[in-house]
Amino acid sequence: MDKFEHSAREGVQGFGTLSEAQLRNSDPDFDAWLGQQLQFSEPYLDDDGFCDQVMERLPAPTARSERRVTRTQYAAVAMASTIVAWQFPFGEVLAEAARQSISLYSLVGIGLLSSLAAMFGGIVAARR
């Protein structure tokens, strides 16, 4: 504290007589040093439930924005399913299935069930 008190005694007498030139005379080194010291002396304040308290007091999101989210999610899942269906080599799989003597009906059934499961999973994942 000695350093500060010594400077303070000298400084207090000088503050009233600081010229405009002195005031405008910015020292970039001092600015950088002061900035560092200010940062260094600042503790990080732990959240300690602060964020949760804020979130509890927020008004609920509007129904309109929730509907928009749901529509967006369904659109994303539908688009993803379309791309998968477009890229899927149905012809080759059907030909292979015929060769392996798998019933066409069971193959379609498995395909439908897989698609439904994938879509359901996609929607659940997106909603989370």
Binding site: K3, V12, D47, F50, M55
Partner: protein, 184 residues
């Protein structure tokens, strides 16, 4: 995933995504609470209440946020307005008992500040309140003079003058520390 402020705000406004807002709260809570503690003369409970109010008010007003300024500038402006308005209604503003209680609860680490930090704090106390706020916003938080002027609701020239005068005072008061650093 760390999204920038702009993307988080878009998610809050367009999708009603409150988790995105929680990220913004976590990102700025420490800085804002620390700044408000200074503004509330160390009354930590009051500062935290004000910070909470500021985040809630900012959330409600977020659809009107045009993005002309940074989110942090806008948030600070809201918080400063709240504190100033509280002060106008509740003078004398400092609950000394609350300050003493809060200081007594400080952790050992907080109490064990280095000499430099203590002297810096003492030097900051020598400044007038507007000077202290201007230095805090510009040299500590890194806001531009224009941003600080908009937060403090003062003319740009006044803020520049506060910063220059405060800088000159601090330069004198902390001269010994600087000389020690320079001389090694």
């Amino acid at each position: 995933m760390d999204l920038n402020d702009k993307d988080l705000i878009r998610r809050v406004v367009d999708d009603g995504d409150q988790r995105a807002y929680a990220q913004l709260v976590r990102r700025y809570q420490s800085q804002l609470r620390f700044s408000l503690r200074q503004l509330c003369d160390g009354d930590q409970a009051l500062a935290d209440d004000m910070a909470q109010e500021a985040f809630i008010k900012a959330y409600k007003a977020l659809p009107a946020f045009r993005g002309d300024a940074r989110f942090s500038t806008w948030l600070y402006r809201i918080a400063y307005n709240l504190v100033m308005s509280y002060r106008r209604k509740n003078a004398p503003e400092v609950d000394q008992e609350a300050v003493d209680r809060a200081q007594a609860q400080e952790t050992v680490e907080e109490a064990q500040q280095l000499g430099m930090a203590r002297d810096l704090e003492s030097a900051m106390q020598e400044l007038s309140e507007p000077q202290r706020q201007a230095i805090h916003l510009c040299m500590h938080r890194g806001f531009s003079h224009e941003e600080a002027a908009s937060i403090m609701k003062l003319p740009l020239g006044t803020v520049k003058s506060h910063v220059n005068r405060a800088r000159a005072k601090l330069q004198t008061l902390l001269q010994a520390w600087r000389e020690e650093v320079v001389s090694g």
